[in-house]
């Protein structure tokens, strides 16, 4: 059997059920009544002890949502979602308020331990520093906000961040403690009326992270949020808001997992980033929500709105994503390049296998003068999956000197999958310079043979090729995540070659 044929056979046998993060944590939880109504919205707001303006904001979004239709333009296919058959709020029950890790239910801590997320760095949490000369990059400090179903369960390193003036806390707390910042920026990048899922999120979001980096501050450590959906039939609607004030810098990491379930779970998050003059935000995501089993049953519906606003001059927002999970991904982390000389970047690896459907990409909206953007997208389709890159690059009349470079490459493993590229390229002034290129190919039999002839196993050879294929993007990830992402990619490859 030729090498490629064999790979294809093995891909077909891939057991998506070996999803490593698909365990369930048995803890009691406190849920809102099933279904969505003004009462649900009020219930959530009340649970969160929110001020009146916040409830008003939510209710307006809810009323707006009632008038909206689910979008149908993406290349994804799924049965109609019954929005009344979902729980919109679930909180782990035992503790009412959580102020330190000790107070967290040990079951939850165990969950995070199983996930292998940086919360386990107990030594660091206790303030134990690596010895001089033992600088281990994998042990660099990371502040973590862990969101379990609808509620933030722990935020680490709060004190140290506070010293630097950085605010990093659950958004539910920020609404109470920093209402002036939240009111100023919430919904200023993704308005409540933006799109069906973002509007839904605005009405029912339960928690998420809030970050404010004051002028001139370089955030002393990576900030990180881990999201996990645990409860059955629960929608997770987190909301993240990051503001980098003038001349500041922050790098933010986001990871997602969910247990295996037969039914589909809905995840509709909104992330808003605001970069003021000379500020920079780097946002990295490793998404490995449960993708469904080998028959395409179960899995997360991931309908996410992520948008960054380069509001100030010389600001920069960079999105990096590694998407391996979810049954359906509908996600376009975007940049509004409003400030003069601002820059947007989008680096993406999207791997689909089994019956996964991915429709993901970005929007680079050039409004200011001399703005630039760069898009590097790597799609890998295997099994019976459909993998679509959809991206918009537009330069408005006044965006003189706008520049974009886009490269999207797709790799096909097997003949039952599809890879699609749908770019929209709009130049509205003559000084805009756009370059776009896209390729679609399969793993070259010659290359595989060459590697195998040099002594690599089939699996290693495919791994080598795929890792080479995605290298440009992996390099953009912070060290801790790059390692995790590489592992994730090899997990899917493990399956693909038996």
């Amino acid at each position: 059997m030729p090498a490629v044929q064999e790979t294809v056979e093995r891909v077909k046998r891939i057991d998506v059920d070996q999803y490593r993060y698909g365990f369930e944590t048995l803890i009691e939880s406190d849920k809102a009544p099933k279904g969505l109504s003004e009462e649900t919205v009020k219930f959530i707001s009340e649970k969160k002890n929110e001020p009146a303006w916040m409830l008003q904001w939510r209710l307006e979004a809810y009323r707006r949502w009632l008038t909206m239709q689910e979008p149908t333009w993406a290349r994804v296919d799924y049965p109609k979602i019954d929005f009344q058959d979902l729980y919109y709020y679930a909180a782990p029950k035992p503790k009412k308020t959580v102020s330190s890790l000790d107070e967290i239910d040990p079951e939850i801590l165990k969950t995070y331990e199983k996930l292998g997320i940086p919360l386990r760095e107990v030594a660091m949490l206790e303030g134990v520093e690596p010895k001089p000369g033992e600088e281990d990059p994998a042990r660099r400090k990371i502040a973590v906000d862990a969101v379990f179903d609808s509620v933030s369960v722990a935020t680490t390193f709060k004190a140290e961040l506070k010293k630097a003036g950085v605010i990093f806390m659950p958004i539910s707390e920020a609404i109470r403690e920093h209402p002036e910042l939240v009111q100023k920026y919430l919904g200023s990048v993704v308005p409540t009326s933006d799109n069906f899922y973002a509007t839904l999120n605005s009405a029912v979001f339960s928690d998420g992270s809030f970050v404010y980096v004051p002028p001139g501050v370089r955030c002393p450590m990576e900030l990180s949020t881990y999201f996990r959906i645990n409860e059955r039939n629960t929608g997770q609607f987190e909301r993240t808001l990051i503001i980098a004030d003038k001349g500041s810098y922050v790098s933010y990491l986001e990871g997602c997992t969910a247990p295996q379930r037969d039914e589909n779970q809905l995840h509709a998050a909104v992330v808003e980033l605001v970069a003021l003059d000379d500020a920079e935000i780097k946002y990295s995501t490793v998404q490995n929500w449960y993708p469904g089993n080998s028959e395409g049953k179960g899995g997360i519906y991931n309908f996410v709105t992520k948008r960054g606003d380069c509001r100030g001059a010389n600001s920069k927002i960079s999105w990096t994503q590694v998407e391996t999970g979810s049954a359906i991904t509908w996600k376009y982390p975007s940049c509004i390049l409003r400030g003069d000389n601002s820059r947007g970047e989008f680096y993406s690896i999207a791997i689909s296998n089994g019956f996964q459907q991915v429709d993901s990409g970005t929007k680079m909206i050039h409004l200011g003068k001399n703005t630039s953007s760069r898009i590097i997208s790597k799609g890998i389709a295997a099994g019976r999956s459909q993998n679509t890159y959809r991206g918009l690059v537009t330069a408005h009349r006044k965006a003189t000197g706008a520049r974009n470079f886009t490269a999207c490459d797709s790799l096909l493993i097997g003949d039952k999958c599809g890879a699609h590229t749908v770019p929209y390229i709009e130049a509205k002034n003559s000084s805009a310079t756009f370059e776009h290129e896209a390729t679609t190919s399969k793993i070259s039999e010659d290359v595989l043979f060459y590697c195998i002839q040099r002594g690599l196993s089939q699996e290693e050879a495919v791994g080598l090729v795929v890792n080479g294929f995605v290298k440009d993007v992996l390099q953009q990830l912070p060290m801790e995540f790059a390692v995790e992402a590489q592992k994730l990619i090899s997990i899917s490859l493990e399956g693909s070659v038996g």
């Binding site: 797709s410 390229i425 509205k428 003559s430 370059e435 679609t440 399969k442």
Partner: protein
């Protein structure tokens, strides 16, 4: 008549369009019924608008508003003006088939010279017996409208093995102001045939008219065919052309289109590679100025394995003009060993010019090599300076670079005479510009 009445923005009852034309529309009772059905389908949809993905960049409701009534049958004066236009636009040596305001003009055509290699009929004659020509797989509103309203067209069949020594030129001439012409043609090219078909769209002193043309082409196995479309309609005209092209096995097909006129135009080509081992080359140029809106939309469907397709598209956009290029390469699940490449480039000559590019890949087979590239930008300053440093004045340096830019698409035309003809058209456009 049971046609629902819908209102356009202008308040005109759309169904008037069909009702007032019905007496003029050729065809058997069965054909008339098919037309009515097509018209009802058009009415349900209305003119395409930006919320329809395929028409995202060309919103006919905003750009055109309403469909004008059918043009009158050309009278002697119109035919005289048309004859002048034929003289000006005929390609040397080509055999001409002329349609004036959507009606076949026998006196201006030399169809007798087509025999015996090519059989010729008018659409009008064909529809007396057969409604098949009005049917296409498309659900597009403008194509439904064309099926409902087509008054005439060219039905050509080129015999198996025929080696045409001269091109066949179909010339569409508009002489009537503020009226519409609807034409539908079929070109069937036999196995092993070699042929060149040219379609020219021009005005004979007509203003503010609308053209809605559809052409259905089938190319047999082992053929070698070129199809060239040159649209140079009046600056205030509207031209919507739909092409449906099916290609057999081991065939070479070379398509070219140039848009250098009309206020609003759209060429939508749907090309299906239905036989293995074929080579398709699709090339196009948009030359746009003032407030012109020119849309070229191409769908290349690799339905079978082992075919090669190449697309080269160039747009030159001046003043406040708006160019749209949408190019989709589809590779069906069984179409292994497909080699499909597309390159589209837009040159913006003015700060207010706009170029929208949507090159798409839709790929369902793994053993393929597909790609596309797209660029947009102004003339390269370093090239301009080099030319100026060698003594070329600004305008001349620009013209040279623009010619080279569009030349990459035009040079794909194999026939020397036709290529020179097209280069001449491009040069005249450039001269008019400066």
């Amino acid at each position: 008549m049971n046609v629902a009445v819908a209102k356009t923005g202008g308040g005109r009852a759309v169904s008037d369009l069909f009702a007032s034309a019905e007496g003029r529309l050729p065809g058997s009772p069965e054909v008339i019924a098919a037309r009515r059905e097509a018209f009802e389908s058009y009415e349900r949809l209305g003119l395409p608008h930006r919320r329809i993905e395929e028409w995202k960049y060309t919103d006919l409701r905003a750009l055109v508003g309403e469909v004008l009534p059918l043009a009158a049958i050309p009278d002697a004066g119109a035919l005289k003006r048309a004859a002048e236009a034929v003289k000006a636009h005929a390609i040397e040596g080509a055999r001409k088939v002329v349609l004036v305001d959507g009606v076949f003009a026998a006196d201006l055509s030399d169809v007798r010279a087509l025999a015996p290699e090519a059989g010729f009929k008018t659409l009008r004659e064909t529809l007396e017996k057969d409604a098949g020509l009005l049917k296409t797989a498309s659900t597009d509103a403008v194509i439904a409208l064309n099926a409902a309203m087509a008054t005439d067209g060219v039905v050509l069949s080129i015999a198996d093995g025929a080696q045409l020594s001269a091109p066949i030129q179909i010339i569409h001439i508009a002489t009537a102001a503020s009226a519409s012409a609807f034409t539908r043609s079929r070109v069937a090219i036999g196995k092993g045939a070699r042929a060149t078909i040219v379609e020219t769209f021009v005005a004979a002193e007509a203003k503010a008219y609308q053209v809605n043309d559809a052409v259905i082409v089938s190319v047999g196995d082992n053929a070698d065919v070129a199809h060239i479309r040159l649209m140079d309609d009046a600056p205030d005209a509207v031209n919507i052309t739909s092409q449906f092209i099916t290609v057999g096995a081991n065939t070479k097909l070379n398509l070219f289109s140039m848009t250098s006129g009309a206020a609003v135009s759209r060429l939508q080509g749907f090309i299906t590679l239905a036989g293995e081992g074929s080579e398709l080359s699709v090339n196009g140029v948009n030359l746009l100025k003032k407030t012109e809106h020119g849309d070229t939309t191409l769908v290349v469907d690799h339905a079978v394995p082992n075919c090669v397709s190449r697309e080269t598209f160039r747009a030159v956009i001046d003043d406040r003009a708006h160019s749209v290029f949408q190019g989709r390469i589809i590779v069906r699940p069984d179409a292994q060993k497909t080699d499909g490449k597309m390159m589209t480039r837009a040159l913006l000559l003015s700060d207010e010019a706009e170029a929208d590019n949507k090159p798409e890949l839709e790929i369902f087979a793994d053993d393929v090599s597909c790609g596309h590239g797209a660029t947009a930008g102004a003339l390269d300053d370093s090239l301009l300076f080099y030319l100026k440093a060698r003594g070329l004045p600004e305008k001349q340096a620009q013209a040279l670079l623009i010619q080279a830019f569009v030349g990459e698409a035009i040079e794909q035309i194999a026939d020397d005479g036709l290529r020179e003809h097209v280069i001449g058209m491009a040069e005249r456009w450039l001269e008019r510009r400066s």
